[in-house]
Amino acid sequence: MLSKLLRAKTPNVIRSARGGPDNTRSIAKNRLNAALSRDRYDLLGPVRSGRRDSLERDLYAAISSHLEVDSEFHELEIRRLNDSFYLVASVRIQAMLPWAPAG
């Protein structure tokens, strides 16, 4: 799943450097893909209700009860693959807490 997303994200500029399709159409498409996800994600956030901040806060709270992580997300964005949108979050783990089995 994640590898699929990452592949979808590889800009064509890079691919064309490796001998892939080299035309301005695919460059435009990749730039748009990035710009639209960014725009859509930005709209989630501060303008209306601070939802972006609260999403970040809630995710951090949930994760940090299991793992010791940076307080800032390395990435937190909405990406698009075909017709679906995915929330992609990554955060650096500082130290593993001792693992406690459930129950």
């Binding site: 159409r25 695919s26 748009l32 639209l36 709209l43 989630l44 075909n82 017709d83």
Partner: protein, 303 residues
């Protein structure tokens, strides 16, 4: 209601490359056809006014009673595109503020009996009317007319809110360029937030030769990015410019590929099942030579 777009079309069909003609026919059969349609874009200069004039003319050619309304207050243009600029006495704001009767602000088209223009005021600004006033006015027009086509100003401010207020349906015009598509995405989000679901897209100023060379986004790219249904594809066309120079909507020029494209769009709005045609560059050698020398009139075979 949130403005964020979470995959408009993807939710319903799951395949952006499937053409939507059949879906829209089913919709038209189930509920009464929309009468008031706004033509909008976000970005300026992509062809909203041209589209409004030609859709209006196209629907009138099909025998409907049509009003086209310019809501670009302060920057009116629909009048000159239709060649009616010398006939303006009263305008939209006069009608809304009661300085004239509604029918006094309606100018009959030069070519068609059943097509009327309501021009924008030129010396006022977008804040002098509000969406409720425009909605009232359109509801009155809907009693006498089959279609009211609203030409929306560029931008997403007051003028945009006014123009979308009365609409039951929205058409978004874009060109195959990064900035226009990005703005279209923003506008589609705002339309959906305003309960104007399933706006349909017109891609204007397509250059099939560039698409073929891989130097222009094509229909499928744009559909994939925006996740909306396509209403029509309009080529960049020199004949459109010469028609506009004369104040005649290009749909009256039978040889113009863009005019043919607008006729097909009008038919689709009217519920006809007209398949989308991909624009093909003319491939014959003489035309290529002419094109390279810059003396051809259009680069396309059909629209």
């Amino acid at each position: 209601m949130s403005e964020i777009r979470l995959g408009g079309k993807g939710k319903t069909t799951g395949n952006p490359s499937v053409c939507s003609e059949r879906d829209s026919r089913i919709t038209t059969a189930a509920i009464p056809p929309s009468k008031t349609i706004v033509v909008t874009s976000g970005k300026g200069g992509v062809g909203k006014t041209t589209t409004t004039a030609n859709i209006g003319a196209g629907l009138a050619l099909r025998g409907h009673r049509v009003v086209v309304m310019d809501t670009d207050i302060g920057l009116r243009n629909l009048d000159v595109v239709m060649g009616l600029e010398n006939r303006i006495v009263y305008d939209l704001v006069d009608a809304i503020e009661g300085r004239c009767k509604l029918n006094q602000a309606m100018i009959r088209d030069r070519h068609q009996q059943e097509l009327y223009l309501i021009p924008a005021a030129q010396t006022r600004d977008k804040n002098c009317i509000n969406p409720e006033q425009l909605t009232d006015l359109c509801r009155r027009l809907e009693e006498d007319f089959d279609y009211i086509i609203i030409d929306c100003p560029a931008g997403i401010e007051q003028g945009f809110r006014n123009a979308i207020g009365p609409a039951q349906e929205a058409i978004v015009v874009t060109t195959p360029e990064v900035s226009a598509i990005r703005d279209a995405d923003r506008v589609i989000g705002l339309l959906e937030a305003a309960e104007l679901q399933h706006p349909r897209l017109i891609i204007n100023r397509i250059r099939p030769g560039m698409v073929k060379r891989g130097d222009m986004l094509d229909k499928d790219d744009i559909v994939e990015l925006l996740a909306v249904d396509v209403l029509g594809l309009v080529p960049a066309d020199d004949r459109l410019i010469t028609a506009t120079n004369q104040g005649v909507p290009v749909i009256h020029d039978r040889k113009a590929p863009s005019g043919q494209a607008f006729a097909r769009i009008a038919a689709r709005i009217d519920g006809d099942d007209v398949p989308l045609m991909d624009l093909e560059p003319k491939s014959n050698l003489m035309n290529r030579v002419r094109y390279l020398m810059g003396i051809n009139r259009s680069e396309y075979t059909h629209a």
